[in-house]
């Protein structure tokens, strides 16, 4: 009795008759199309139930208004790039990860697709005239997961292929890799796969491809010559609270369960992938801005991983207590170093007391 996902497509009237809209709508032939004035009329309504909308998200097709590029967040690794920017061609994600900051960032779980890519490209060209650019095109969403509908990743790669000063990062949990296999590898594009242990995928990353599927995709993309970064981020503290009768074990003093899950995960990943051929491995523990966590907890009052007693750092970010974060990141990096050259492992730490 609940409508199917994307049963409705809300379309800004100004772009109703455009070719890109027609193309996107062909992927949803049974969807009800509703003309709207501005995407915020639907996306920013009062009192929306994010949790319920996540079960049956709708699509909103809109025009992106300036700014087209944003400075990279301090909560994200810039990988040493000075001109670190990101752009949002989409807002929200078709996946439903329990720990995702988007659950506290947006008022709605509906997906917004901004269709005027050309204007974003023009802005990028303006910046490139001044300096090289490190641009993440899949923040606040998983762009690749919607590639069969939008074709945006393909357009970005065509654009990047003629601009050597532009470095693109495409972050994803998706297993869809056709855009990478249908053209020669680009030197200035990094495909960054977020990987998690199967236990985490099964329990906290609803709707995402399983670990084996992601590994298969990485392998194929690496074989085609693309640069691949593995992001083990966020690392979650896992315990076996369901079986364990000792409360002390839940307090981060006992990492036995966590170690078993994460070491098994790294064994599985590097049994299939050659660590020497990866561009880098990025590791970061769970963290979320104070306001986002507060809102996410309100929306998901029974999520145990969100209600962990995190500590607030001086940048207003909730993270694991420094002692626990240092231990889990240190242990993970040490274990990863068995498979990947140390200089390729990047640890992003947020637990500044």
């Amino acid at each position: 009795m609940i409508t199917r996902r994307f049963s409705h497509i809300y379309i800004e009237e100004a772009i109703l008759d455009s070719e890109v809209i027609r193309r996107i709508c062909t992927s949803f032939p049974n969807a009800q199309q509703v003309p709207i004035g501005h995407y915020k009329d639907v996306f920013c309504r009062k009192r929306q139930d994010f949790r319920l909308q996540k079960r049956t998200p709708k699509l909103i097709l809109a025009m992106k208004r300036p700014p087209f590029l944003y400075s990279g967040s301090a909560n994200c690794d810039s990988f040493g790039n000075h001109s670190f920017y990101y752009t949002s061609s989409m807002m929200n994600c078709p996946y439903d990860c329990a720990y995702c900051y988007l659950k506290g960032m947006y008022p709605s779980a509906n997906l917004v697709i901004f269709v005027n890519q050309e204007e974003i490209f023009e802005e990028v060209d303006k910046r490139l005239a001044a300096h090289p650019l490190y641009l993440c095109i899949s923040y606040d969403t998983d762009l690749l997961s919607f590639e069969p509908v939008t074709g945006f990743v393909d357009s970005w790669m065509k654009f990047a292929s003629r601009r050597p000063d532009l470095f693109l990062e495409i972050r994803t949990k998706c297993a869809f890799i056709r855009p990478f296999l249908s053209r020669p590898a680009l030197r200035n594009v990094i495909v960054a796969w977020t990987l998690s242990p199967e236990y985490v995928i099964k329990n906290y990353e609803m709707g995402t491809p399983n670990l084996a599927a992601r590994i298969r995709s990485i392998k194929a993309v690496m074989k085609a010559g693309w640069q691949v970064r593995i992001c083990i981020d966020p690392v979650l503290f896992i315990d076996n609270y369901r079986e364990d009768t000792s409360w002390a074990r839940h307090q981060g003093t006992d990492l036995k369960v966590w170690e078993r899950i994460y070491q098994g995960f790294l064994d599985k990943v590097f049994m299939s992938l050659d660590g020497d051929r990866l561009t880098s491995v990025s590791i970061g523990a769970f963290r979320m801005a104070k306001d986002y966590l507060k809102r996410t907890r309100r929306r998901y009052p029974c999520s145990r991983i969100l209600h962990y007693p995190f500590k607030l750092n001086r940048n207003g970010v909730y993270c694991y207590p420094p002692s626990l974060e240092n231990r889990i990141l240190g242990e993970l990096a040490k274990y990863a170093a068995r498979f990947v050259p140390l200089e390729k492992i990047r640890i992003f730490t947020s637990s500044i007391p």
Binding site: M1, I2, T3, S7, H8, Y10, Q32, V34, P35, I36, G37, D41, V42, R45, K46, R47, Q48, D49, L52, Q53, R55, T56, K58, Y241, R242, W247, H250, Q251, T253, P301, C302, S303, R304, H307, Y308, P309, P321
Partner: protein, 291 residues
């Protein structure tokens, strides 16, 4: 162990209905067996098993006032629904007379504002954009720009008023096509007869809605909250310390533990000063999560 509880434990999910005219209401009250509640003089209100209906009178202002009155008086909550039901006109003869339509967009003609219900419920009705006018549109709407496929005189008032109390997925606007912008003064008895079948279909749809998806889950039971309030008073905690205790207790509870094991007179002695309470609180915190 039951880790979660409902916020509305014991509350009955309520479906609030609004109609403009008594003759529209009758098609519903008769089928639902609703009885007039005599204590309300402002608006005729009918009540029955899981339903409350208000008759607002014609026009969006009357509808907004009646909707707000009903939702306030009966304490509408997150697991309730509001449905505005009534006659409307169609701007096109593609929609047959007697057809039931549901609005995916409500346009207030006067203000130009657009309202969007969250279309999360599957339904058997045709979806339309519905435009609300303050006056009756006659003569086929000649000389007037009409954006909606259907027009009425209440929907925007019902939606805007209900939006102060309810989420957009809790509000539905359902209309039955009666004329094509050339209204004749309706014969009230005929209107009731005209609406019986469409209303029966609407009621079947409402009866089958999975209202349980609206129930919000909470980590702490009412008993847990009572226990925490008792501890906060005993330790003379500040508001921020009380919030911190609730947060820790939530994690403790979600981990499958019983708060009664932690918060009991032996661990939470009655404190005479705030400083004494602070020391007890620190000790209690370490019991939940050591620094």
């Amino acid at each position: 162990m039951d880790l979660v509880s409902s916020t509305d434990e014991g509350d009955i999910d309520m479906i609030f209905l609004t109609t403009a005219m008594i003759c529209e209401a009758k098609a519903l009250t008769r089928q639902l067996g609703l009885k007039r509640v005599k204590e309300y003089r402002q608006f005729p209100i009918y009540e029955g098993d899981g339903y409350i209906l208000v008759v607002s009178g014609i026009g969006k202002t009357a509808c907004a006032a009646a909707t707000a009155f009903m939702l306030t008086r009966f304490g509408a909550g997150p697991s309730d629904l509001l449905v505005n039901i009534g006659l409307c006109a169609s701007t096109s003869d593609r929609l047959d007379r007697g057809k039931t339509v549901i609005a995916n967009k409500v346009i207030d003609h006067d203000s130009g504002r657009h309202f969007f219900p969250d279309m999360i419920w599957k339904h058997p009705f045709q979806e339309v954009g519905l435009e609300t006018f303050s006056t009756c549109i006659e003569d086929g709407g000649r000389g007037i720009t009409i954006l909606g496929e259907c027009v009425d005189m209440e929907a925007s008032g019902a939606f805007e008023a209900a939006s102060f109390f309810l989420a957009p997925h809790q509000i539905s606007i359902i209309k039955i096509i009666y004329d094509y912008l050339s209204p004749v003064r309706p014969d009230h008895a005929l209107v009731t007869d005209f609406l019986v079948e469409p209303c029966a279909r609407i009621l079947v749809w409402l009866k089958d809605l999975p209202m349980e998806v609206l129930v919000e889950q909470e980590a702490l039971t009412e008993e847990d909250i009572g226990l925490l309030e008792w501890a906060v008073k005993r330790m003379r905690l500040t508001a921020s310390m009380a919030w911190e205790l609730k947060q820790l207790a939530t994690y403790y509870r979600l981990s499958g533990w019983d708060l009664k094991d932690l918060i009991r007179p032996h661990y939470v002695p009655s404190c005479k000063t705030k400083n004494e309470g602070k020391a007890v609180f620190e000790r209690l915190k370490r019991g939940i999560y050591p620094e």
